[in-house]
Structures are given as structure tokens and as C-alpha cells.
Amino acid sequence: MNKIARNFLVISIIFCVLVSPFVLIVRGEQSKIVSRISDVSEITIIQDSELNKPNTTLFRMNLTVEILNKDIENQTVTELSDDYPKSAIKVTFENTSLELELILYVHLTIMRYTYVTGITTEYDSLYFYINQFNLTQLPDGNYTVWRPINTAYPLINSTTAEMLFTIIHVSSGELNISYSEFDYYPTEVTSMSVITVIVVSAMLSLMGMIKRRKTQKTKKD
């Protein structure tokens, strides 16, 4: 039993000293929060709206957003303002004379959002102008949409976050959408397995120490 415990101790120490720090360091460098656009739907042209500006066409694009918390604990992100919409869009048009202007209304308040472990789904709507009147469809080009997150880093908090991009390629009215996927491997098993080794080994060590002291005390007696 002592030999088994000793060998287990040796293996544990080797694992903890040589292997686990590298595992933990790799996990520590990955962002705990990741955002992506998981669905682009209902791209519509808005007619007769108070938002309409001269010589432009007003569009609305509805988005489904996913926020992934990879950690086993809730994570809080801090945003420098409360934006409407929270998502963003950029475009490279085939017709380089075209420009896109996103409409933003912003509450100038520092905001905190807490995300539970796993994926949280939100919805967003982009309203934007393109500087050509009476368009009947999105002009050709490559549109990139994404959800900025944790904009207060590193000013106010230290949570790391990552944004994934969705690309919409438009050609003659046809949309080809490329979504980014989450690269998500739960870390609970790894962390727990390391902790289990350490705790079990420590318990065995203590049991051994107690047993030896009892033996020594018996000899003295």
C-alpha cells in the first residue's frame, strides 16, 4: 500500500510540476467570452419611415447574436456605452461610389452584462443608409457583421473577449453568408482532473505522515 501510495505521489508531482502548468497557461490565454452572429435574416428596405434621408435607401437587417461564456463561472463584461444596435457592419462595395452609414443611438452609460456559462442568445436590428435612392436590393459587395463585446477592456475590466465575424457576399441580389463557428471545448474536466490528483495525493501524504508519527510514538512507548 505504501509503495503504491509513494508511486502515485511521484507520478502526481511529476504531472503537477511538469504538465499541468502548461495546460493551465494555455487555457489562461484564451478569451473567456466570444461573440458571433449566428443568423442574418430579414433584410428589408424601409419605405416611408421618419428615418429616411434624402438620396438614400434605408435598410434593416435583423441578426441573431450568440455570446459564449467558456468559463465555468459567470463572466461580466463592461461596455463603455449602451448602443442601439450593439452589432456593427462594414462593407466593401463593388461600386466604390457607394457608402453605408449605420444609424446608432447611444446611452452614454457604462454598462455591465453578466453571462452564464454556455451560450446566451440575443437579437439585434441594424438600420443603415446606402447613399443611392430607390435601391431594390442590397448592392453587390462583401458585408461584414459582428458583435463588439467588452468594449471597456482594458480601461475598466480585465475580462478578455473575442469577436467572430460573419461575411455576407452579395452578387446580383444573391446572398452567400459565411458564419464563424465557436471553437469551444469545455475546460471543467481538465481543471477537475488536476485538482482531483492534487487533493487525493495530499490526502495520501497526510495519511502517511499520521501513520509514521503513530509508529514513532509506539516505538518510544
Binding site: R6, V17, P85, A88, L102, Y105, M209
Partner: protein, 398 residues
């Protein structure tokens, strides 16, 4: 001997590697909260901290001396137009009944789905209306105004916000609605409008020639327009993730811009008396007034959230928590200006309002900086000095 050495070494490693345990991580995150300040926490003992203005957010500028020690409240002859996301019934009631600080909401101005203007003076008229989906920000903003300018008259202008197909306001104004600004200009005299306060910004220019004319009329009638600088810690409030400048109305020469100052150390560093780390700035020259004009506390300041009905006191009220952002610096300075106007009235002995230039001169007199700085403007305004100067100016003008 060898097992004993292994035991001791391993126990030491066990203690060191406790860093991976959940309990240690929780302790570490608590430390981070403390270093970042009190933002997000409930305000302890609000009857004293807010009711008696003993929170350092108020004592920093001497607001406690004017409002609590000398008992100065707004005399009912100062009206502030607050432009924001919207109010729901319980927020309206809480702003008027909250025990620690409250205002008098004269009316709620909105635009219905047919484009007609609605002027609502009874909160019961919006009690069961579920068209307001985006709200809360206006409630918090007005609560800051209330804490400084007790019983000030407020006209609330309701903006229409869109979040998603499942959450959007059915009614409200857009900032470029000419009918909105026509109404304010045409009713300036009727309601004795003195200040317009906006803690909402946009990236798109919206001031048409008609709106600019309305603004000129308001300025000619000594209405001062105040807005928030923004929180992007950048020139022209540049939002880098979206690659846009959220700089309207800040960049309009007719508006006076308020940034945020740290009234206490924040983030574990010596930041007291400095511009808050997030507060944006504009031009480095004063010509054209496209600058940050002044700073006010906006980093850990009591604001109201979560309105509810207090069944013991039989009033509507809210929970005071610490908020942050130039959204709250703006009503803070608006409250000081309301006190300045009141001080002028008290010194003069009548309700003739000071001119905008007189107000600016008083604010500059009471400012912490004598020279302009691009990021700090003229610094923060000392409420005590400003009120005293306003009273003196009123006496001299009588």
C-alpha cells in the same frame, strides 16, 4: 526519509497550486471589484448619502453645502427639458415621490404612431400603455438631476428606440424630427424652459436648417443646451469597434459638452481630480465651441434604478446604486445650472432669468481650472461658489 521529503514537498506544492481552485478565483475576483471602485453597488444609507448629499460625489463639488446645509431648492421657476429613451408609469411616479430626492414632471412629450405630438401630463395616461419597451436610462439620468436640483420642473422628451424585432418602442421622436424642436421652441415661453439636457448621442448629423433655426430661437431666449461628451476615451468620441464617431449633438456649436471627472480614486490608482478614464474630448481650440466645456462627477455617482411601490410609506421610489458615464455628469451640471438660475432669482428678487453668457461667466468663475484643457475643459464647477456668485450677480443686477 525519502517518503517524508516527498510528503513535505508535495504539501507545499498543494498549497501553491490552490491557485487553480474555484474558491481562490472567487476571492481574486472580489479583489478586482474593490480595485475598480464602487460602481454597480447599492448606495448605503441613501437617506444620508443622497437625501443629505453626504456622498462624496456631492461633497466634492460642495453641492451638499448649497442644498443640504442652506436648504436651497429650485423655486419652481426653473424648467429643464430632458431628452431620453422614455419613462414608464412607475418611473414617473418614483421620480416625483422618491423620499430622498425628487422632481416635478410637468409633462411627457412624445410622438404617436400616426406622427402626432402627444403632451401627457398625468402618469395614469401611460399606466397601461405597453408601447414603451426601452426605458430606464431616462429614469437614472433624472434621478441625478433630482439629487442636485430638488423639485426642479422637468419636461420629458421621449425618443423612439429600436433594439430588435422583438423589442422596440412603438412611439417616440427621432432626433431629427423638426416637429419636436418646433414644439420646444414654440413652448419655451409657456413653460419657461431654461435648460435642455441630453445624455443620448448619435453618429449621424440630424440638425436640419429648420432645427438650427429652432436652436437659435431657444438660445435667443437664453435656453442653455447641455449634452454628454461620451465614454469612448477618444477624440470626437470615436467608437473603434464600430469605426464611427458618436459625436452628435456634442459637435454642434450650440451645445455645451460635459465630461466626467473622478471625485475619488478609481481603479486602484491616484485618479482623483482627473478626467475619468472613459471620458471623451473634442477640439483643442475654443473658437466654435466644439469642445468639452466642463467636467462633473460621473464615475460612481448615485442613480435610481428598479422603481417600485413602497407599501409602508405608500410612495413610489427606486433603489439607489452607483452608476458611471458621462450620461450622469450631464444632469449633475444641469442641476448646478438650475441652482445658479435660482441663486440669480434669489439675489435679484424676481424671476428674470440670467442670460446664457451670465450663466457661463458664473460657471467659469466657479470652475476648478482657469485655463482651457482639451480633455478637461475648464474642470469641474464648484456648486457652492457658483451659487454664491449667482446670488451676488442677481443682487448687483437688482
Amino acid at each position: 526519509m525519502i517518503p517524508k521529503k516527498f510528503d513535505k514537498i508535495f504539501l507545499i506544492l498543494f498549497v501553491m497550486l490552490m491557485g487553480v481552485s474555484p474558491s481562490f478565483r472567487i476571492a481574486n475576483s472580489q479583489m478586482t471589484l474593490i480595485l475598480n471602485g464602487t460602481v454597480g453597488d447599492d448606495v448605503p444609507n441613501p437617506s444620508v448619502k443622497v437625501g443629505q448629499l453626504q456622498d462624496t460625489a456631492y461633497t466634492y463639488t460642495g453641492a451638499d453645502c448649497v442644498v443640504n446645509d442652506y436648504g436651497i431648492t429650485i423655486d419652481g421657476h426653473v424648467t429643464v427639458v430632458v431628452i431620453d429613451d422614455g419613462l414608464v408609469y412607475r418611473e414617473w411616479r418614483a421620480l416625483e415621490e422618491n423620499p430622498e430626492a425628487n422632481v416635478d414632471i410637468m409633462g411627457f412629450l412624445t410622438e404617436d404612431t400616426s406622427g402626432s405630438i402627444d403632451w401627457i401630463t398625468d402618469p395614469e395616461d401611460i399606466r397601461y400603455d405597453y408601447g414603451q419597451k426601452i426605458y430606464g436610462h431616462g429614469f437614472a439620468v433624472i434621478s441625478v438631476l433630482a439629487s442636485i436640483a430638488r423639485d426642479v420642473e422637468v419636461i420629458f422628451v421621449d425618443l423612439q428606440f429600436y433594439e430588435s424585432p422583438f423589442k422596440y418602442d412603438r412611439y417616440g421622436f427621432e432626433l431629427d424630427d423638426e416637429s419636436l424642436w418646433d414644439w420646444i421652441a414654440n413652448n419655451q415661453s409657456t413653460f419657461d424652459i431654461d435648460i435642455i439636457s441630453s445624455s443620448v448621442a448619435t453618429n449621424s448629423t440630424y440638425a436640419t436648417s429648420s432645427i438650427l433655426d429652432d436652436w437659435d430661437d431657444l438660445i435667443d431666449n437664453d435656453v442653455m443646451m447641455i449634452c454628454a461628451a461620451g465614454n469612448n476615451n477618444s477624440y470626437m468620441n470615436y467608437n473603434s469597434p464600430k469605426d464611427v464617431y458618436i459625436c452628435y449633438p456634442q459637435n454642434y456649436t450650440e451645445w455645451y459638452v460635459v465630461g466626467s471627472i473622478d471625485h475619488e480614486n478609481r481603479s486602484g490608482e491616484s485618479t482623483k481630480n482627473q478626467r475619468s478614464s472613459f471620458s471623451s474630448w473634442f477640439e483643442n481650440y475654443t473658437a466654435g465651441n466644439r469642445i468639452v466645456n466642463w467636467l462633473s462627477p460621473g464615475n460612481g455617482i448615485p442613480v435610481l434604478e428598479d422603481p417600485y411601490r413602497d407599501t409602508v410609506l405608500n410612495v413610489f421610489r427606486g433603489t439607489w446604486r452607483y452608476g458611471a458615464g458621462t450620461s450622469f455628469s450631464t444632469p449633475y451640471l444641469t442641476g448646478i445650472i438650475a441652482l445658479v438660475i435660482t441663486g440669480y432669482h434669489n439675489g435679484l428678487g424676481t424671476y428674470t432669468d440670467p442670460t446664457i453668457q451670465k450663466i457661463i461667466d458664473i460657471l467659469d468663475y466657479a470652475s476648478s481650472r482657469s485655463t482651457f484643457n482639451q480633455k478637461m475643459g475648464y474642470g469641474y464647477v464648484d456648486t457652492y461658489l457658483a451659487y454664491g456668485k449667482a446670488y451676488t450677480e442677481g443682487r448687483l443686477a437688482s
